[in-house]
Symmetry: C2
Subunit: 334 residues, 2 copies
């Protein structure tokens, strides 16, 4: 079982940005020193309620002290040019000695598509075409491509990525369409933190059905079935719930409320429901022994080989979660 960590999500507007970035560096070093296998960062643009750092510069910076951990960079693919992204990620693969992973995201927030001048109706077609271009630039010496959005005429990219045949491409998905798309076009499906386990169980069956006989799991870095969970670990379950609540409740209501995230899911699982109902079977709020049981259950019910922790709470609370995971949870799975 591998264990990975969301290195940064959002940061308070009230603090200077260098202080917020310093917290990222502290977390990165704690992850390195406590046995995590990878750090990950999401992407959004023009965020109003928080500070949010851009994953390519931020993860490039922390790569100077993340040791052997992999770096997983999310990019909103329909809003970027695949030549730029393919080149930047190849540079990151060089600087990390081949430890770069891409999470190719489709995007959903209306203000982002509007600000980039990309019709949301084109997002899927752009996404699929861009992923194809990136794969070809990473693996072929001379690329000629005539698509609906992108045209390349005998071009070559140097350097190519260090990883052969190429770095893994993860995709996030929290509904049937996304899961089928990931089964067909992605290397690895990062199971979303939005869904309850019960809902994911149905999506895993769908994934396997559409993965088909021709597609092997992509095992190059030892992760083929990762599950993301919003997590808060404390000495007791009551502390975990009570301390996590103010952070999670506000974030899901304010942030996802402005982003239309819930509307993408299969279920009518509105994120504005009362916290007592919202968290059940969705967030990993636990003491260490409950955490061990939950991970064992996820492995049995979903077949996961990686738990991806999206830790809630202030920096000190996240560092406590990391320490409890490292000392009381990870040893049970290694």
């Amino acid at each position: 079982m591998k264990f990975t960590l969301t290195l940064f999500g959002t940061h308070p507007l009230s603090k200077p940005s260098p202080e917020n970035f310093g917290a990222i560096e502290t977390l990165a070093k704690a992850a390195r020193d406590n046995g995590f296998d990878m750090v990950w960062a999401g992407q959004h643009y023009l965020v109003t309620h928080f500070q949010k750092f851009q994953p390519i510069p931020a993860l490039s910076r922390v790569s100077a002290y993340t040791g052997n951990m992999y770096l997983n960079i999310t990019d909103l693919i329909p809003l970027n040019h695949p030549v730029r992204l393919a080149e930047e990620l190849a540079s990151m693969d060089a600087m990390t000695g081949g430890r770069m992973v891409l999470t190719a995201a489709l995007g959903y927030a209306d203000h982002e598509f509007a600000s980039f001048g990309v019709p949301k109706s084109e997002r899927l077609a752009r996404f699929l075409e861009a992923v194809e271009v990136i794969k070809r630039l990473w693996t072929e010496d001379t690329v000629t491509f005539k698509g609906r959005f992108f045209t390349l005429d005998g071009v070559t990219m140097n350097p190519k990525p260090v990883q052969k045949p190429r770095p893994p491409i993860w995709m996030t998905a929290d509904n049937s369409k996304g899961v089928i798309r990931t089964a067909r076009h992605g290397d690895v499906w990062l199971m979303s933190s939005h869904n309850r386990i019960a809902e994911l169980k149905e999506l895993v069956a769908l994934y396997e059905e559409h993965r088909g006989a021709g597609r092997q799991d992509f095992h190059d870095i030892g992760i083929s079935r990762p599950l993301m969970r919003v997590t808060f670990i404390a000495p007791t379950l009551k502390e975990a719930i009570d301390e996590a609540r103010p952070h999670i409740e506000k974030f899901w209501r304010d942030y996802y409320g402005t982003m239309n995230q819930a509307s993408e899911m299969n279920s009518t699982d509105d994120f504005s429901q009362p916290f007592e109902k919202l968290w059940q079977d969705r967030f990993l709020l636990a003491d260490p022994s409950r955490c061990v049981e939950e991970i064992a259950r996820y492995r049995e019910e979903l077949g996961i080989d990686c738990l991806h922790f999206n830790l809630s709470g202030a920096l000190e609370q996240q560092l406590r979660s990391i320490k409890l995971l490292s000392t009381k949870v990870f040893p049970r799975f290694r």
Copy 2:
């Protein structure tokens, strides 16, 4: 007088990319330890004769050990989206505590415009509009913008840059049109390494004429008139010329030969001319005492307050140039 350094340009295809990137890290640390004030990197895409790293991830990575040096990131503005660039550079300003500078480049290579689907005829209009959007996103809380290429409807960027009112925007220019554009729209003109000093002298007069009464020099980081020179310093002038020649001659012939760079300049100063003629008054090939004389001449003739070194040669030769500059040249100007 400030002294700045091109941290990376191009790297041999024959070496693994992590080894080429390691040379960048070695140079960055040498620059930091030898009194340089800033490191800089250019940008190109889809380069065939060399490996070339992308400046945002590469400079973000080296920022972990560049101490108090500024980082100057070149971006081919017409090929990028200003929202993405403004956000990525603000993240870099946070992680460096306010030491990020942008060199806004217009671009010239046909294959780059074709591969990004941007008509070269639009490059200037896109450049000017994107620079305006970046300035507004960096300084205004809510940005509404309706341009020919970009539309923003009441959006906000967080975090804003650390530097107030905003980070400096440099522009490169090696011909009259570019110099007039820089005088009008840029904060700082980086005088090009392509031109001979005699030609630059005429361009400086043009810059000052068009800078006009309303535009103060942008002094925030103590550099307002930087000059870039391709440089090779050796114990004797003969060694400098003989050792630099194979590196410079091949690079200018092969690389610029494929890029149409020379065609942008005012003069008919073809880069394929014999080396003995090519280097005179253009490249800074020198022993330390000639180097001191040349910098003093540039200061007198062009009014520079910063010499930007684009060092030629293998890594060991570049490190020798750095050591000779640090011990025998810099002390004469500080």
